[in-house]
């Protein structure tokens, strides 16, 4: 294992290396291998992008530890998305991160030209770096390609395989060597910019802030970066106005600087590739091409896609069920144990219903989370996930969503909590948030008991012909949620979650056999994160909600049968009082205080509505198939003797449950994933407003039509 804590303290301060490269070049696999899967996950200051840092385990403990940062994948340093800008800051260091001691740049050997484009701009910055030439073994590359590249570039190049871990020892030694040599690197490789562009760069260099400047080359590289990147409406912060105006001045002269930069760099890269004898990875392309002929086929491709998605959905919906049932059984057994062991009283009830129930509310999500990430891991690792995005992009993008949002959206039909965790597969934060905002509209499995109860109680079977109304109603609720979710995505993507349009850039990586080990690690990481961060919020909320429907305790202590703890009638609890206070608000939706109290209780989880209603009506039975509860709901009357639950009320209630964000766990997970209360607040507000408006409409129109 690692050095003891005492030895760590005596060790010199760690040096920082930043791992970076294009998206999908196997960066994360390398990171995991290098840091032994013990990443510390934090956040970048001021933004809510995850920053993964690990420690490289060097052979022998003579060296100071090397801290490795997994920078967001990027195609260049000029990018505009939040994540890609952070990569620039990691490399250049003006955002308080400090300059890194070295970079580890990952290149995909099968896509050298494009990967070298990023490397070129890093070399120009004169940051000490080593190159990991990843997947060279499967790209038909000549075995001496690393050596040739290293010679032509003038920096160390090590052939690696992020899947097997091959070449990593050499990579670490190369990194240590670079860190220990004090001199600034002088790469052999140079891009020949024309003299006008160089003069422009020098003019811009004068306007660079002093702490950005360095060697002549570094200063010029940053000037070129500014020329090729800054524009009046970009999102870069901490760029001095003087620099901006100088860039604007030079650009106003009308030359096509962006094109000149790209042409000069690609011209140099092309020469380099000829020099090192690079050739396209034919074997890899051909093998993948053969598979894609089926998997992307208009007919067979869709068939495989639908089947795959059915398996994923079925797993979440049905396979997770025994595990969920087992967890619920254990939780109620523990609750029974607590009840038996402790004397009656507030403490017993708090422990049993609040705390044990709360822990149950957290771990009950684990089966679905683990299963979903098992599938996501296998789909990503095999390369099929990118094909899913490719196949459905046409549909998803008309809604402003990324093709990769499909799997989270689908998972939302089982449960929003794992689905929101699954938005991690989206690269851009904007896409992630937009997906998180609409996933909770999908008809999750917790809504089903509520729908079943209402449908069974209000739309009785006998009223049905050959096509039972109940089935149609349920189908209608599903369609409603899909249509609303898609509309919400369309609207939110143009209002609250606006983003710049970037060209969709899908890479279809070569197929590879999916590996179980990294998938299991990811499942473990995600599950632990959920338990740690969202779990605490869910637990606290459960206890609070329990208190709301429990207190105040009834004051009458002496009853004929003795001084037993008296169950407060639900209507006298704070929750019940709140329900009563809300009655005027929900009356236009057709609800009374009892339903309002049920809705409050359902905040713990939607299906709790059923058991809360059983409490409200003081009937036995707490599941949707309970006959007494159905009968009680059916027989509930208004003051004028008409049924309390008319079809209009029933529909209104179902629509309310379809749209309202009646789920504290969803909010807790959105808070965890966005690292802010803003997005859960937005989610709750828009969904509740939508639910209120829709229910209002349904009830008022329904009543006017005489239902």
């Amino acid at each position: 294992m690692n050095a003891s804590p005492a030895a760590m303290e005596r060790a010199p301060s760690p040096r920082r290396a930043v791992l970076l490269g294009n998206p999908n070049v196997g960066k994360t696999s390398l990171f995991n291998h290098l840091t032994g899967l013990r990443a510390r996950v934090g956040n970048y200051p001021g933004v809510t992008v995850e920053r993964r840092v690990g420690t490289i385990r060097t052979k022998g403990s003579l060296h100071a530890p090397i801290e490795l940062v997994d920078a967001p994948g990027t195609y260049s340093l000029s990018a505009r998305s939040e994540e890609e800008q952070l990569t620039f800051h990691e490399v250049v260091g003006p955002e308080g991160l400090g300059r890194p001691d070295a970079l580890v740049v990952v290149l995909d050997a099968g896509q050298l030209a494009r990967c070298l484009y990023l490397l070129v701009s890093l070399l120009e910055l004169r940051v000490p770096l080593v190159v990991a030439l990843n997947m060279a073994d499967e790209s038909d590359a000549a075995t001496d390609l690393p050596a040739r590249l290293s010679f032509e570039l003038g920096v160390p190049v090590v052939s690696t395989n992020g899947r097997t871990g091959e070449g990593l020892d050499q990579l670490v030694s190369a990194l240590v060597e670079v860190l220990e040599s004090a001199r600034a690197p002088t790469p052999r490789f140079q891009v020949a910019y024309d003299s006008t562009l160089r003069r422009d760069a020098d003019r811009v260099a004068d306007a660079l802030p002093n702490d950005w400047k360095g060697s002549v080359e570094r200063t010029r590289a940053l000037a070129l970066w500014a020329l090729g990147t800054l524009e009046p409406d970009d999102e870069w912060t901490n760029v001095p106005a003087g620099l901006r105006s100088r860039v604007a001045e030079v650009r106003a002269e009308g030359r096509d600087i962006d094109l000149e930069l790209a042409e000069a760099r690609y011209a140099a890269i092309e020469r380099l590739l000829v020099e090192v004898g690079d050739r396209p990875p034919l074997t890899r392309i051909q093998a993948t091409e053969r598979v894609d002929r089926i998997l992307l086929h208009p007919l067979w491709g869709f068939l495989v896609f639908v089947l795959t998605m059915c398996v994923v959905f079925q797993a979440l919906f049905a396979w997770a069920d025994p595990a969920i049932g087992a967890i619920e059984w254990v939780v109620s057994a523990v609750q029974g144990l607590v009840t038996d062991m402790l004397p009656p009283g507030v403490l017993r009830d708090l422990l049993s219903a609040g705390v044990v129930g709360g822990v149950g509310n957290v771990i009950v999500f684990l089966p679905q989370i683990l299963l979903l990430f098992l599938f996501i891991g296998l789909l990503e690792d095999s390369g099929y996930m990118a094909r899913v995005a490719y196949l459905v992009d046409r549909i998803m993008r008309s809604l402003g969503l990324h093709g990769r949002a499909f799997v989270p959206m689908l998972s939302g039909f089982a449960c929003a909590v794992p689905a929101i965790l699954a938005t991690r597969t989206l690269e851009r934060r904007r896409d992630r948030i937009l997906t998180m905002m609409v996933v909770p509209l999908m008809t999750c499995s917790a809504r089903l008991p509520v729908y079943s109860l209402i449908i069974a109680a209000i739309f009785p079977l006998e009223s049905s012909g050959p096509f039972p109304l109940q089935g149609f109603l349920l189908l209608f609720m599903y369609l409603l949620s899909v249509v609303t979710g898609l509309l919400a995505a369309w609207v939110l993507g143009r209002t609250l979650v606006r983003g710049r349009s970037v060209p969709l850039l899908l890479e279809l990586p070569p197929y590879r056999a999916p590996r179980l080990a990294p998938t299991l690690v990811m499942m473990k990481e995600r599950a632990l994160e959920f338990l740690r961060e969202a779990g605490s919020v869910i637990l606290i909320a459960t206890v609070l909600l329990w208190g709301l429907l429990y207190f105040p305790r009834s004051t009458e202590t002496a009853s004929p049968s003795g001084p037993t703890s008296v169950q407060t009638p639900l209507e006298d609890t704070y929750g019940g009082r709140l329900g009563k206070a809300l009655e005027p608000v929900v009356e236009p939706l057709g609800f009374d205080w009892k339903i309002a109290t049920g809705i409050i209780g359902a905040f713990a989880a939607r299906e709790v509505f059923v058991s809360t209603m059983a409490l409200v009506y003081q009937v036995e039975g707490d599941d949707e198939n309970s006959a007494p509860l159905r009968e009680r709901i059916k027989s509930e009357r208004n003051a004028d003797g008409s049924p309390r639950f008319s079809p209009a009320v029933g529909l209104s209630l179902m629509v309310f449950f379809a749209f309202a964000c009646q789920c504290m766990s969803t909010l807790a997970v959105v808070r965890r994933e966005t690292q802010s209360w803003r997005w859960p607040a937005v989610l709750f507000t828009y969904m509740t407003t939508l639910a209120y408006a829709a229910s209002f409409l349904v009830f008022q129109v329904g009543r006017a039509l005489g239902f």
Partner: protein, 76 residues
């Protein structure tokens, strides 16, 4: 002709790249610069996006984005 109109299996040379600056820069950075050979490998079942072979790698672009790349005939 634009890249959006190139038939499956067809190949041509990039002539000009247009579009808003950030957008165009991204295409240029990906190597879609004038003089580059592009080939359309296939079109997704729903007609979009299209899959290209550029500089030895496979890249998928939406048609509307591909329409910003104008082409000329010939070999690189």
């Amino acid at each position: 002709m634009t890249l959006g109109e190139l038939p499956i299996g067809g190949s041509a040379i990039v002539d000009r790249v247009e579009g808003a600056r950030a957008f165009r820069r991204r295409l240029l950075e990906l190597g879609l610069i004038p003089g580059t050979k592009v080939e359309v490998l296939r079109v997704a079942p729903l007609g979009d996006p299209i899959e290209l072979l550029v500089r030895g790698y496979r890249l998928s672009l939406r048609r509307e984005d591909a329409a910003l790349v104008s082409l000329r005939e010939g070999a690189a």
